[in-house]
């Protein structure tokens, strides 16, 4: 095989095929592909490879194998059940039921969603966001729904910071304020003002604080400003070329204290 000329973007072409790009990345790739013959060729090759693989290649478990495996599981299960015989008969044990009943995760659909999102990102020219504070609060409330808060749950800033590599086009500053009683809980991606932003999640007692970070258009530092929307407080400032918005149901004074601690922390 001769070494074909390569392009750094071919893995992104593949990632798009696999539904692994977010809207912003997909839109950027579209622009690149229009002028890169290597990526166009790679896209065709990847499509050819995918077309070769059908679900007929899937080795579902044959019935006789399933029968033997189930018999083995039941046999291995017997001592446990005997030990737990005071509980109701056979497979009613909680974990046994969990073993049986947890279901297959829906894997399809994501690719389609990513494609639609990419299309939207291209078609919709975001005018000027009417109210960033409103968006920040909506983002915060959305994230408070179960399971939406962190994509990378970690109290370690050295885990959270690298997680953003490759997911976002800037390196957000990640600080742990555990010493100031604002421990880091994790991070996730969010969309604010028409662009992907980093969201860092902190906590004070039972209160969750979201800190949204994205690059500022002007580099001059701006002092903190407090606003309030729908009963949530938000503090906004710029520092080291980053826009920072802290939002929480924490009382305004404490949220300002968080912003101040964060600003001073190295």
């Amino acid at each position: 095989m001769t070494a074909a000329p390569e392009c750094d973007h071919v893995l992104l072409v593949q990632a798009e095929l696999d539904g692994e790009l977010d809207a912003a990345q997909a839109a950027a790739l579209l622009v690149h592909r229009a002028q890169c013959p290597i990526c166009e060729a790679a896209a065709a090759e990847l499509a050819r490879a995918r077309a070769l693989i059908g679900q007929d290649l899937y080795h579902a478990m044959p019935e006789d194998v399933r029968g033997r495996i189930m018999a083995q599981i039941t046999a291995a299960q017997a001592p446990r059940r005997a030990a737990d015989s005071r509980r109701a008969a056979s497979p009613a044990l909680g974990w046994w039921r969990r073993w049986l009943s947890e279901w297959r995760l829906p894997a399809a659909g994501f690719g389609l969603g990513a494609a639609c999102a990419a299309l939207l990102a291209v078609l919709v020219v975001v005018p000027r966001p009417p109210d960033v504070a409103e968006e920040i609060v909506s983002g915060h409330i959305r994230a408070l729904q179960p399971g939406h808060l962190e994509d990378v749950p970690s109290t370690d800033q050295h885990t959270v910071k690298p997680w953003f590599d490759g997911r976002i086009d800037f390196a957000p500053p990640v600080k742990d304020l555990a010493a100031q009683r604002f421990p880091l809980r994790g991070g996730r991606l969010d969309y604010i003002a028409g662009r992907p932003v980093a969201a860092l999640v902190y906590q004070r007692d039972k209160h969750v604080i979201d800190l949204f970070v994205w690059p500022a258009s002007e580099s001059a530092a701006r002092p903190a400003e407090t606003t309030e929307r729908q009963g949530y407080n938000a503090v906004h400032w710029t520092q080291d070329g980053m826009n920072l918005w802290a939002v929480s149901d924490l009382e305004a004074g404490q949220l300002r204290e968080f912003a101040e601690d964060w600003r001073r922390s190295p």
């Binding site: 095989m1 070494a3 390569e6 750094d8 071919v10 893995l11 992104l12 593949q14 990632a15 696999d18 692994e20 090759e45 990847l46 050819r48 490879a49 995918r50 070769l52 693989i53 059908g54 679900q55 290649l57 899937y58 080795h59 579902a60 478990m61 044959p62 194998v65 399933r66 033997r68 495996i69 083995q72 599981i73 291995a76 299960q77 974990w95 073993w99 049986l100 947890e102 279901w103 297959r104 995760l105 894997a107 399809a108 590599d165 490759g166």
Partner: protein
């Protein structure tokens, strides 16, 4: 766990390339899974089970001796393709593929891929797992998963095209 028996068998079958060996691996994996399931606290039981299946496959006869395992230098950052990761000289998988081209079957072409290319391809295309899940199951950095997947697909497409041409 039981809804994922097919996934477990599919992965074992593709890794071992043999029905009897695959059954042994799944048996072993299910016993391990059964032992540890009570302490399983994760959110992705399918990926968890597949990781156990993979471990069982690798420790079983044939794979743990490194006979057919072609080591590939891990690539650098995600998003980049190391030249030598795309054009492997070690063990020349292409030559193996050309041998298989007579069959012209995608099944044979995939089975002929070296295991570290076959594994991400099967997980991605047949199990529809995300890069992140594949990285966890195979204990490989995501960037390496991406470049291996790319190599696997490129070899597949090129060999298929060549066998059509002859």
């Amino acid at each position: 766990m039981l809804p994922h028996l097919d996934a477990a068998y599919n992965l074992a079958r593709w890794l071992m390339r043999d029905a009897a060996a695959a059954e042994d691996v799944v048996q072993e994996a299910m016993l391990r899974a059964l032992t540890y399931f009570a302490s399983f606290k994760g959110v992705n039981p399918r990926a968890w089970l597949l990781q156990i299946v993979r471990n069982a496959a690798y420790t079983s006869q044939g794979l743990d001796r490194g006979v057919e395992f072609v080591p590939i230098a891990a690539t650098g950052e995600p998003g980049t393709v190391a030249e030598d990761d795309l054009v492997s000289t070690a063990d020349d998988p292409e030559a193996v593929l050309i041998k298989a081209r007579g069959e012209r079957q995608a099944r044979d072409l995939i089975a002929a891929l070296p295991i570290e290319l076959r594994e991400p391809l099967v997980l991605r295309e047949l199990e529809e797992m995300s890069y992140k899940e594949i990285a966890e199951i195979t204990r490989t950095p995501i960037g390496t998963v991406m470049s291996r997947l790319f190599r696997a697909r490129r070899l597949l497409a090129q060999t298929a095209a060549r066998s059509e041409a002859t």
